[in-house]
């Protein structure tokens, strides 16, 4: 294959990886901070996609405008869910392990609830719409405009999150919590307000990913699950709690998958991803990038 084709392939992988990173960042924020492993994460991505589609087809609202709307909407949902479910769980769980297990089960229930709610509301048919689907030529390679938008926004949001975490006071508080929950509370960081907010931000990022994906992909109630799984793989690769790890891990996974698909076949791609996943979990349970 020519060099140009290789570049195209890698770029294609980066685009897919950008979405993975975006979803994984949200998941990582929730797990790293609060030890809530949200396996319903993909379902909120799906909600973001549906809301954008509905707005676009019923009211003609541009998906670009829906990006911040999806974020805010899902963030509110996240804060509400945290208040309703996880706050009580924190109170009633004896140890952190118990909390994690119960949190996992609660998210499991959420997954069923949200996916079937969507099925009830919108039905199982595939939906889709075309937005910015014109091909754009960049140096001999061709990409869809919306795919380029996807990677741009994904990187933008990821970078924004990381910058916020590093520079602002809020971000410092979050990072402190990530490092040491007790210590952070001792220095006066308010977990009661920070936890729901960050859970909400996590879901908000998922919603944005869904909104962006709705431009390029077919939308259906079951579209979220594969992304949850991929996000899990990414945060395993990058390390639970490491934001930069999630970003790099996501992009890397996208490229690995693209090259793998080319060398073998798409059928083996899943085998490859899961194989890597399990290998990393067994060999380096703390992730490839964490320096602990």
């Amino acid at each position: 294959m020519s060099a140009g084709a290789w570049l195209e392939l890698i770029a294609s992988g980066l685009i897919a990886g950008g979405v993975y990173a975006l979803v994984a960042l949200g998941l990582n924020l929730q797990y790293g901070l609060m030890r809530i492993l949200d396996i319903a994460h993909g379902e909120f991505l799906m909600l973001g996609a549906f809301v954008t589609w509905a707005a676009h087809s019923s009211f003609g609202i541009s998906p670009l405008a829906m990006v911040p709307v999806s974020f805010l909407l899902l963030m509110i949902v996240g804060i509400a869910l945290h208040r309703l479910i996880f706050r009580r769980l924190t109170r009633t769980s004896a140890t952190l392990d118990v909390f994690e297990a119960r949190g996992l089960m609660a998210c499991f229930g959420l997954m069923f609830l949200v996916q079937n709610f969507a099925q009830l509301l919108w039905g199982g048919d595939l939906r889709g719409y075309d937005f910015l689907a014109e091909p754009v030529a960049i140096g001999g390679a061709q990409f869809a405009a919306n795919k380029l938008l996807l990677i741009a926004m994904a990187l933008l949001f990821s970078a924004a999150l990381i910058v916020v975490l590093r520079t602002t006071l809020l971000g410092k508080g979050v990072r402190a919590l990530l490092q040491s929950p007790t210590g952070a509370q001792l220095v006066g960081i308010d977990t009661r307000r920070l936890h729901p907010l960050m859970f909400g931000v996590g879901l908000g990022l998922s919603g944005v990913a869904g909104c962006l994906l709705s431009m390029t992909e077919a939308i259906s109630p079951s579209m979220g699950e594969p992304y949850t799984v991929t996000a899990l793989i990414v945060i395993t690769l990058g390390g639970f709690g490491s934001m930069a790890g999630a970003l790099v891990g996501g992009l890397a996974l996208g490229v690995i998958e693209a090259i793998g698909m080319h060398l073998t076949s798409p059928s083996l791609k899943s085998l490859l991803s899961y194989g890597i996943f399990i290998a990393v979990l067994l060999w380096r349970p703390n992730g490839l990038f964490v320096r602990k």
Partner: protein, 300 residues
């Protein structure tokens, strides 16, 4: 223990009589109830007491179904079931040895990953080696045979659960569930106990897989490794009360019947209510619904 056994005997008698007095449909419905009853009680046997949430039921079910399909027609029926159980149990032992040292969420996520890995591996192997992707089951046994087999497996699962709970093995698992490190310091070989429990649980799932798949005539990886079977098993066991004996059983029957009734009106409502119930249980009744009746048994 005596009361439990008597109750089991009574139910067994009723279930045995069903094919002779009930309609075809009643038998099919009973079959589904039995399937989930055995799946969820064997799941709860290990996961309920040790607290290790396994999402690998679908993998074991599917492996049982596939191994059964491979030898069906060449071996007697009972041996087919045994092989299904054995393949699943061996896989569980290998899987367990590799991952049971991880705790909690890691374990749950890993079992899920392994299920998908196994599904894709089977698909790939089938495609490459046999050039096909599904198996047509030709020498299918009589429907009554399938019913009695599943009934027998369910009864076996219940009896095993009763016996194990009172045995040292069962107490060791409960100890692991309560506080693993303490169990270790008290001399329990936690690794062996966990692998053993996992294998027993998997064996039942595999046997059920081998038995149920003959009803579908054609099996392919997507159908038998369907995560839905695994999820529903886990949901039922958790809502019923994973640490109890009767919780998963009652829940299995109730939910199978509920699913059948709701199917005609609003099938999504059934799934949504399952999800909702689980959340409610986790929040207010961590021991599941059974803890309403039998409080005191430690919640997972």
């Amino acid at each position: 223990m005596k009361r439990d056994l008597v109750l089991v005997l009574v139910l067994a008698a009723a279930a045995l009589a069903l094919p002779f007095v009930g309609s075809e449909f009643a038998v099919s419905l009973a079959l589904t109830c039995l399937m989930y009853a055995s799946l969820s009680s064997s799941w709860a046997l290990f996961c309920g007491s040790t607290g290790y949430l396994s999402l690998a039921t679908a993998a074991f079910f599917g492996l049982g179904a596939y191994s059964g399909a491979l030898v069906l027609g060449q071996l007697p029926w009972l041996l087919v079931i045994v092989i299904g159980a054995a393949v699943a149990a061996v896989t569980a032992i290998v899987m367990g040895a590799a991952v049971l040292h991880l705790r909690g969420t890691y374990f749950a996520v890993l079992t899920f990953g392994m299920t998908e890995l196994i599904r894709h591996a089977v698909t790939y192997w089938e495609k490459r080696v046999t050039g096909t992707v599904g198996r047509v089951l030709v020498d299918v046994p009589e429907r009554e045979t399938v019913y009695f087999t599943v009934l027998a497996l369910t009864l076996l699962a219940i009896v095993v659960a009763i016996v194990v709970r009172r045995s040292r093995f069962g107490l060791a698992m409960a100890g692991i569930g309560a506080d693993e490190q303490r169990a270790q310091t008290l001399g329990v070989d936690t690794r062996l106990v966990k692998i053993g429990g996992f294998a027993i649980s998997a064996g039942f799932a595999g046997a059920i897989g081998a038995a149920m798949s003959v009803r579908w005539t054609y099996i392919d990886p997507a159908t038998v490794f369907s995560p839905f079977i695994g999820f529903q098993t886990v949901l039922i066991a958790l809502i019923g009360g994973a640490a109890t004996l009767w919780g998963p059983l009652i829940a299995a029957v109730v939910f199978s019947l509920l699913a059948e009734t709701l199917r005609l009106q609003l099938p999504h409502l059934y799934m949504m209510s399952l999800g909702m119930l689980l959340i409610v249980c986790v929040l207010y009744l961590p021991g599941g619904l059974a803890s309403l009746r039998w409080p005191g048994r430690a919640a997972p």
